[in-house]
């Protein structure tokens, strides 16, 4: 009898696992249930569709449902919602709307993803108020903007979705107001990044409202304003991007363990507390490479990587899902911002470190080379072990340099080891000392002084 591998969720983690399992085992029966229409899509591309840089939503689909079925022999069922998991009987219950059926499995992957948080704002159901988490949302925003030709947009939330949507809507000629309840945008990137990005957003004409909680939205049928505690700001379209929460209800109802982060707890192979049930992607935890603790950073690479590893594990080659450094990068108009590891000093202390940090600015290229931009690098290390804990990079080019630190985090390098890396130099690409190495040099000096 052939084994059956059932996948719940047809996006990055789920379809990576299904595809990898198929490549490893041509005989396995693989059934994937997706409750919506879209599978295997690049959610991160949505702001660029709204902006107009990406012509069609189909461009964001990596592999079509048909290709999964015909080329990869995966029994992919869209508009099929799994409504119940019975880990003891090893079955899932599937609803097609009118119909329900049971599907047995030998191994199961829960890849139910996350959803946009819908805060309890008044007026969330007004026309023209959107969250953005799947392609239908992107389509709806794009259609609304095209059809109603709004003059003013309000973005609620200064995370990367908020900032990317600010760029997208400003590029379409809207006056953009961005509301953030915290003192700074891009909270996980730290203050040095935030101040550079905020200055740049203002230069680009985005009106920033920091430290500004939103109470709700006003309007008759369609939204016409953002309501603050003490003011009303006109807005013809609103995008709420205040974060995501993992879809864990199905798992929790089935007795699958949820971790402290609120996402599904897994071991190094992505296995839950049930031997034959795995979880991956935005609904699952991952191990932070710096702290060694469970963490929840729902990002595309983590989902793809874990899915792929689980595809190998369920076909007989136990494969680690890998650790995460929380590496992230975001474009805000002409500035790139990136972060990795533990930047927040309080969080570092909670994890048992004694954090020391430096912030430096350095040119992205040789100072005399045309087009040189200023880069700001913040580097954080543990005082005693001198191990690098995290970093941020922000500037007009070169934010991808964060990868050097991400690699250092995975390898557990010290500040001095990063300082003496043989990084690539030529005038069009870098100063002699790469800004990452310069930050390490300054931090090493500062560690010595305080030793």
């Amino acid at each position: 009898m052939t084994d059956t591998f059932v996948v719940i969720g047809g996006d990055a983690a789920g379809m990576s696992a299904a595809s990898k399992a198929r490549r490893e085992n041509p005989d396995l029966e693989i059934v994937a249930f997706e409750k919506g229409d879209w599978v295997s899509y690049a959610a991160c591309g949505m702001p660029y569709y709204v902006k107009g840089d990406v012509e069609s939503l189909d461009d964001l689909v990596q592999v079509t449902p048909d290709a999964f079925r015909t080329e990869r022999d995966i029994d992919l069922r869209t508009n099929h919602e799994v409504v119940d998991v019975d880990p003891d009987a090893q079955t899932v219950t599937v609803s097609t709307g009118n119909d329900r059926f049971e599907q047995p499995y030998d191994q199961l992957l829960i890849a139910t993803g996350a959803r946009a948080i819908e805060p309890p704002f008044t007026g969330m159901d007004l026309e023209g108020v959107f969250t953005i988490h799947d392609l239908d949302h992107a389509d709806a925003i794009q259609t609304y903007v095209s059809e109603t030709d709004p003059e003013t947009a309000a973005i609620v939330g200064g995370g990367y979705v908020g900032i990317e949507m600010a760029e997208a809507l400003a590029s379409r000629g809207l006056d953009v107001h961005l509301f953030e309840m915290l003192p700074h945008v891009l909270q996980p990137f730290g203050e040095s990044v935030a101040t550079v990005v905020e200055d740049h957003l203002r230069e680009q004409g985005v009106e920033l409202h920091l430290d500004t909680p939103v109470a709700g939205f006003g309007g008759e049928e369609a939204v016409s304003s953002v309501e603050l505690d003490s003011a009303t700001i006109p807005a013809d379209v609103v995008v709420v991007g205040v974060g995501v929460e993992p879809n864990v209800e199905l798992a929790a109802d089935a007795g699958i363990e949820i971790g402290e982060t609120g996402a599904i707890a897994i071991d190094e192979y992505g296995r839950t507390n049930y031997e034959s049930v795995f979880a991956a992607g935005d609904c699952a935890e991952a191990t932070n490479v710096v702290t060694g603790d469970a963490d929840h950073v729902p990002l595309a690479l983590t989902a793809n990587r874990a899915g792929r590893a689980i595809g190998q594990t369920v076909t007989g080659t136990p494969t680690d899902v890998g650790e995460i450094a929380g590496t992230a990068i975001v474009k805000a108009f002409d500035v790139g911002a990136a972060r990795t590891g533990i930047i927040d000093e309080e969080r570092a202390r909670d994890a048992g470190f004694d954090p020391v940090s430096v912030e430096i600015t350095a040119p992205s290229r040789a100072h005399y080379y045309p087009g040189t931009q200023e880069l700001t690098v913040t580097l954080v290390a543990d005082r005693e072990s001198e191990r690098v804990l995290g970093a941020s990079v922000v500037g007009g080019e070169g934010a991808k340099r964060i990868d050097t630190v991400a690699t250092a985090l995975h390898a557990g390098l010290t500040v001095t080891e990063v300082e003496t890396l043989d990084l690539a130099y030529a005038p069009p690409f870098s100063p002699v000392w790469d800004p990452i190495a310069t930050a390490a040099k300054v931090l090493a000096g500062s560690l010595k002084k305080t030793a």
Copy 2:
């Protein structure tokens, strides 16, 4: 009595050491002898001066002689050539042209650099035939091109100096011929880089003559042609860039040990076989981080870093000069090419490895994001240990990604460890799987198959 630290050579290694020693010890007597006029200059910027991107040679000088003297209290003497070193007496003999004197030292740094190789071509002394290694050369080329308005340039040597000068002179409107005796340009970068760069050079109108040894140059007073074995090619100006050789004669004459590479042998602190004599920069060896053997890769960062470390060591804080990965990057018109570690399979075998490599192409950004360029990554690993040995990257953007591999080399990461790095992803910066991780993924698969 105050100790005296004498430095021979006023460029990257020498002046980094002098400056660092001064910061660490305000009382040390520091004397630096430079046989020419220029100190502390960015030789790598010269092609961009010839091209016209850098306005003045002074822009390439990091710190002026006066600033070293007044701001850093370094007794810097330009046009002072050290002609003899006596390590037993701890003195150097200095010539100023007319005059000679002896200078005692407690600790000595030999940072005599390298010189452009002058091959035994006929006609090397014709007007209009240049090598390029210091700012005087750049000045001479720039002046000659401006004054004689040449139509055709010949570059001899397809290393990075040759390629940068090809770009510089083509940008000034000259027809450029590039001659390389080997089958490919950029030999240390490997064939996959070379073919991409060669195609691009041809697209840009550079006439490539590969596998083509040059016999010499023809002309009356001024050069007018390049002589090949079987043809004569017109050339109004010639730049010979066939590599550099370390200036070790002074050291060798003094009984200082020269390594197998032909450069000065040093220990991990940059110390020669004489306790009080150090060597750094283009005249000295360095330890290759992959092979653990002495290597000679004369590049700016190595010189700066070693100089700085020696500045600390001579002032009482023994500091490792660091290892090198042979990381290099070069711009060829609109293409960037980079390399690190051991790429050449024969060299890998000589070092005791069993090399396996893959070459992949991947987009530099999300495939649907505007401006995406194709990147070609070659990754080499040892079959048994699965340790990464080296890599190259070439493409329209993103060659700096080589730093991820350089960092991995310093950390001794395996292919699977590189595959599971948490590298930065957002559509404007990278595909979900960074091309480096993709190369590692493919190489890991290939290692498994052959295991």
